[in-house]
């Protein structure tokens, strides 16, 4: 199986879907001849031309809105935001328009559109270029939210997102683009709403996604050397949430830790743990825990950013305390 970077896997998904479906087209800043700041759209303009790989002005509200309008009129736009932080500039179009259009129209309109962007910290990009918004998006009825951690999942989920027929927030991570992995060629589809057990273990379930999923796997390796076997679940899709996979896992491990890079406060960890106590109240033998960013804006200096964002050592320590 070919080994690709996360960027190359996304590029392959876009290329295949554009070849298969003439309705699919791309819009975003610097995505044409420049190929995207993170190279995800590299060379696509050579194959598909500037009509279908459209460089936009720096006008997030307008080009997200144009995406929605074109989707309602039969196209399948994939809109790239340079940084997910800029989704806030287009928040009206995403939240008030895209997410609600089908509902407000009584099902007569639909918005088959993907908004892709990278998010997260770890690179010193500062407070306006390092945020993680999946908990916000998951609070909006009408949006599907996806956050793959591996190149294979990135390809398979992007293809599913483009075909989903609904507005999808497709969350990439700036520090995953150069990671490598085996990626199936051609028709490789990962279903939306299905988590994946990335490591099997008996002692504790660690639920994560996106870049912190890799941290969880690394922590599991270290814990294994102490004789603690962690099961690591990659959510892959944030909304709809695959609770079945989580519940099945904790019935065996009876311990749960949720790890994410977005802020802990009102974050996905709180949601998952609340659902666990509602749906399987007597399963856990030790209180569930969550790890996320501390409640400050994301700083630039490495020593500061590392103190704010969850690290591998934090995961190891939390698990040790729970055993």
């Amino acid at each position: 199986m070919p080994v690709l970077t996360y960027s190359q896997a996304l590029n392959e998904a876009l290329r295949e879907e554009m070849q298969a479906d003439p309705r699919v087209f791309l819009m975003g800043e610097d995505i044409g001849h420049h190929g995207g700041v993170f190279r995800v759209t590299k060379d696509l303009i050579d194959t598909f031309g500037p009509e279908r790989v459209r460089d936009t002005p720096i006008s997030e509200s307008a080009f997200v809105g144009l995406g929605i309008g074109s989707a309602m009129a039969g196209m399948r736009p994939v809109v790239e935001l340079l940084f997910m932080d800029f989704a806030l500039v287009a928040a009206d179009q995403i939240v008030n328009q895209a997410a609600k259009m089908r509902y407000m129209s009584g099902g007569t309109l639909s918005v088959p559109m993907v908004i892709r962007a990278q998010q997260g910290g770890g690179r010193g990009n500062g407070a306006q270029h390092s945020q993680s918004f999946e908990s916000w998006f998951a609070q909006i009825p009408g949006l599907i939210t996806i956050a793959p951690s591996t190149p294979a999942d990135a390809k398979g989920l992007l293809k599913s997102a483009i075909r989903a027929g609904n507005p999808v927030m497709f969350i990439e991570h700036k520090l995953l683009y150069s990671t490598k992995g085996e990626v199936p060629e051609g028709e490789h589809i990962v279903p939306i709403g299905k988590a994946d057990v990335k490591r099997v273990g008996r002692d504790i379930t660690i639920v994560s996604y996106s870049r912190t999923l890799l941290f969880a796997l690394e922590a599991a390796e270290q814990l294994s050397r102490q004789g603690i076997e962690a099961e690591v679940i990659d959510l892959r899709t944030i909304e709809p949430l695959d609770m079945d996979t989580i519940l099945e896992s904790i019935r065996g491990t009876v311990r749960l830790l949720v790890v994410h890079e977005s802020h802990t406060n009102c974050g996905l960890g709180a949601e998952i743990i609340a659902r666990v106590y509602e749906q399987a109240p007597d399963t856990l033998i030790t209180p569930a825990r969550r790890l996320g960013a501390k409640h400050v804006p994301i700083p630039v200096a490495e020593a500061l950013e590392d103190a704010v964002l969850p690290q591998v050592a934090d995961i190891v320590k939390a698990v040790e305390e729970m055993m």
């Binding site: 006008s59 129209s105 599907i144």
Partner: protein
């Protein structure tokens, strides 16, 4: 081709349907039968009818929360609109959208919008779809002059020109942004100049003259269809009622409204029809026909069932 004089009686009836629709909603609202807000378009019927009648049925349109008339003029069923206002299962959005979200893609209506200026990029996106699909649909977006200070207004005008999209921007200038006199909060209240500054043709039209509106939109649509890109039309009109039900209208004098009533679109078209030789009895007949259409819609809506509670959980996703 200008709007044929033969169609003016139909336009008169259509404008009366819109007026009577709003009057019926007012009565229902006062009787506590309408939930939420109601933003009447009374006085702005000519721009709605003139503009929409210059389009094809499958041309796209977005409108505003003051858009009942625009939606009806584009072809939304009066019954479905009335039922939507009363929150009935037979409403155009099954009771989920209400007054500010009239939608009917079968007549190109991609939704009214409750966010000021949000419909501009949506219509422009539909125009982009038409261009990409090599079809000759155009898109028209209605907005008020209150929308011209929103960021997305400027962003969208720019993109429409840069990509030469087949879109028509129709600003209904009714002089009031909600409860504020527009020129007091707008640096240059001749909004067409904003369209012009992006390099698109921009015209000012008497928005209370249905024939003038038709001609302006028809020319813009023809230009758009032949690859000439967007046009900006500023339709000068007047909002005869308040921003919404319950607006005390402290921002304007009663005399100003009284003067506006003398030149409002239905009065004007009535005079024009008489000049063309129609009698008062002809006008009365058109009026009675409009009344019958509204009475039928009211009866349909009132006799329609409320949506079942389970319906609240459908139509979130395709």
């Amino acid at each position: 081709m200008p709007l044929s004089p033969n169609r003016l009686p139909d336009a008169y009836r259509q404008m009366l349907v819109i007026r009577k629709f709003e009057e019926a909603i007012r009565d229902l609202y006062m009787g506590g039968k309408i939930r939420g807000s109601f933003h009447p378009c009374v006085g702005q019927e000519a721009s709605a009818v003139g503009a929409c009648w210059a389009l094809q049925k499958d041309d796209y349109m977005t409108c505003t929360y003051r858009g009942h008339g625009q939606a009806l003029a584009k072809g939304l069923s009066v019954r479905a609109a009335m039922a939507e206002m009363l929150g009935k299962a037979t409403g155009c959005s099954k009771g989920k959208g209400g007054s500010m979200h009239f939608t009917d893609p079968s007549v190109g209506l991609l939704g009214a919008n409750a966010i000021v200026a949000a419909g501009l990029p949506l219509a422009t996106g539909a125009a982009l779809a038409s261009q990409l699909q090599k079809q000759d649909h155009v898109a028209l977006t209605f907005f008020g002059e209150g929308a011209v200070n929103q960021g997305v207004f400027f962003e969208t005008l720019n993109l429409a020109v840069v990509w030469k999209l087949p879109v028509i921007f129709v600003c209904e200038n009714n002089h009031y942004s909600e409860m504020t006199v527009s020129h007091e909060t707008t640096s240059n209240s001749e909004t067409y100049k904003r369209g012009e500054s992006f390099g698109m043709p921009a015209v000012v039209v008497d928005g209370n003259d249905v024939e003038a509106m038709y001609a302006a939109v028809e020319a813009a649509a023809e230009r758009a269809r032949s690859g000439g890109g967007p046009t900006y039309i500023e339709a000068m009109t007047y909002r005869l009622w308040g921003h919404m039900m319950g607006d005390p209208e402290g921002y304007r004098a009663k005399e100003e409204v009284a003067r506006a009533r003398e030149v409002e679109p239905i009065v004007r078209l009535g005079k024009r029809l008489k000049e063309l030789g129609y009698s008062q009895s002809d006008l009365d007949t058109l009026n009675a026909e409009a009344e019958a259409i509204i009475a039928d819609a009211l009866q349909f809506a009132q006799n329609s069932p409320a949506p079942k509670p389970a319906e609240a959980f459908t139509d979130v996703f395709a």
